[in-house]
Amino acid sequence: MSFRDRHAIPDLGVGVGFRIPHYPRVLESSEPLMDWFEVISENFLVAGGRPLDNLARLADKYRVVPHGVSLAIGSVEPLDAAYLAKLKDLFARLDPPWVSDHLCWARAPGVHIHDLLPLPYTREAIEHVVERVKRVQGTLERPFALENVSSYMTYRESTMSEWDFLAEVAERADCGLLLDCNNVYVSSRNHGFDPVTYIDAVPADRVVQMHLAGHTDKGKYVLDTHSDHVKDEVWDLYRRAVARCGAVSTLVEWDDDIPEWDVLSAEAAKARTMRAELLAAPRRPSLVATAEAG
């Protein structure tokens, strides 16, 4: 049975991030404007005030899935128990079908770097992350997914590809995956690998969500900026990912130079149409087999 089936992970359709410039439009509209919303968990781990009021209003109307940025699953530093307790409390209020954070590290002794730093793809890192994912899942008691990050550096110590690393962590920790197609593309440009090879190697039945976003070409490298439309190359990867993984909840991330709601909404609509066309098309034999087995 696939990870998605075991955890009854629903297909929520296509959503966007809940961002401040759109609060009035989203919260005051009497019509549903989007299939679902993602929120950054940390923005709502506060004592009270407007953030929590807004979140409650959003959750009254929409399915809300929290997405974390501070877990630092790959850090050597111990997991932050107080942070996990706060997350658990937030999740209890939202009751999301899954929760997620990134396959990265960020905490070091005495400091949180507040970035999504890549890990070396080593046996040691796999052992470390698998153990921690199990503990996080045991604590949160919810389906948990790891997102692949964009990266700008490579480690001398790495002994395998990122996709093999990701797949082994997911299989051994028995967790879900949040497949960010833009991150695959950004890293492929930065490190010179074939992004299609990556997409094809991801354990398809573990993908509970996909991300789409824009990036910025800085000349010598590509930066994951979430400040623009999704680029054509990333749409191509998304098509391939949907063909492999099937009906998976998709989210358009746009966090900087945030456009008018209608622009963002149109980007989500583009993903929705693309997804619907692919899902209506005859499935590839392997996917049919998976669906029947489930």
Partner: protein, 297 residues
């Protein structure tokens, strides 16, 4: 062979360097042992991308939270402050929301900024807004909860204030300067003038209101959970110490009930204002409930 712990330790140092890693030959060697680089970027350049992002992200958060200090110092000087602050007070929290929590203390104690106490006070006011923004909620005041209480129950009553309310005693009208700076009005540095302010959350926005010394003394006692009767006495003692009864200031601030021969004591002045304060502070949302139970706060 470097372990995961060793790699993270080296990178955590490298990413928090203000200047490019290439400027430090020893650190460069460490970075080269960890990163592999590619045909466009050297190992040091790869790590430096993250270092640049670290500073951009952190300085941006401080700019947002302390916009009036950036205005007071100018861009370059603010960036120098941000660098010094982040080196001294790295974020240990899971959230960048807490990043600036030590700024007022840092400015008050670290030269050259400590020579200008106005800056530390600005940071205190800015941070009060951060805390008021997402501090705890409390249910609104329910007038029915005090109906029918007899007069002798009130001295033992505890007034519960909104938990997110911030009370500040300032040496300058820093709060006005902050608002002017944030609105782009280019305010001049104000003259020194003691003021008492309350930063609080309204239904929609954050507000800042200046209050007089009597109200401030009373609010501070209430915030401590002091029962109303004792709060009046303590606040009056504080006011009396600052401006003894019979002084020109005190006489001028008392109302028409002092028209007779005897001047009112600070306690009488304060008691006279109590009903007005109570209705004002409930309507502003500062007072959220009244507890008549005899147990402690």
């Amino acid at each position: 062979m470097a372990t995961l712990a060793e790699m993270q330790a080296v990178l955590a140092v490298a990413l928090r360097r203000v200047s490019p890693i290439a400027d430090d030959p020893e650190l460069s060697v460490h970075a080269e042992r960890i990163a592999s680089g590619n045909d466009r970027l050297s190992p040091v350049e790869q790590v430096d991308i993250y270092r640049e992002q670290f500073w951009l992200r952190h300085v941006d958060v401080l700019r947002d939270d302390f916009a009036s200090i950036e205005y007071a110092l100018g861009d370059d000087a603010f960036e120098r402050l941000a660098h010094a602050y982040l080196e001294a007070c790295p974020s240990a929290s899971f959230t960048l929301r807490d990043l600036g929590e030590d700024m007022a203390r840092f400015l008050a104690t670290r030269a050259p900024w400590s020579t200008e106490p106005f800056l530390a006070e600005l940071a205190k006011v800015e941070w009060a807004f951060v805390d008021a923004f997402d501090g705890q909620n409390a249910p609104p005041f329910d007038p029915a909860s005090i109906a029918g209480r007899s007069e002798d129950e009130w001295p033992g009553a505890r007034i519960v204030l909104h938990p997110a309310l911030q009370r500040l005693t300032l040496e300058w009208p820093t709060h006005d300067y902050r608002i002017g700076a944030r609105k782009g009005e280019e305010p001049a540095r104000p003259e020194r003038r003691a003021c008492h302010v309350v930063v609080y959350r309204g239904a929609e926005l954050l507000h800042c209101l200046e209050i007089d010394a009597d109200a401030a003394a009373m609010l501070d006692e209430l915030a401590r959970g002091t029962p109303l009767g004792e709060a009046c006495e303590r606040a009056a003692a504080k006011i009396g110490a600052a401006a003894p009864a019979g002084s020109a200031d005190r006489a001028a601030s008392s109302d028409e009930t002092s028209g007779g021969g005897e001047r009112e004591t600070p306690l009488e002045v304060l008691q006279g204002k109590l009903a007005g304060w109570f209705s004002e502070w409930t309507s502003l949302g500062w007072i959220r409930s009244v507890r008549f139970d005899p147990e402690g706060p």
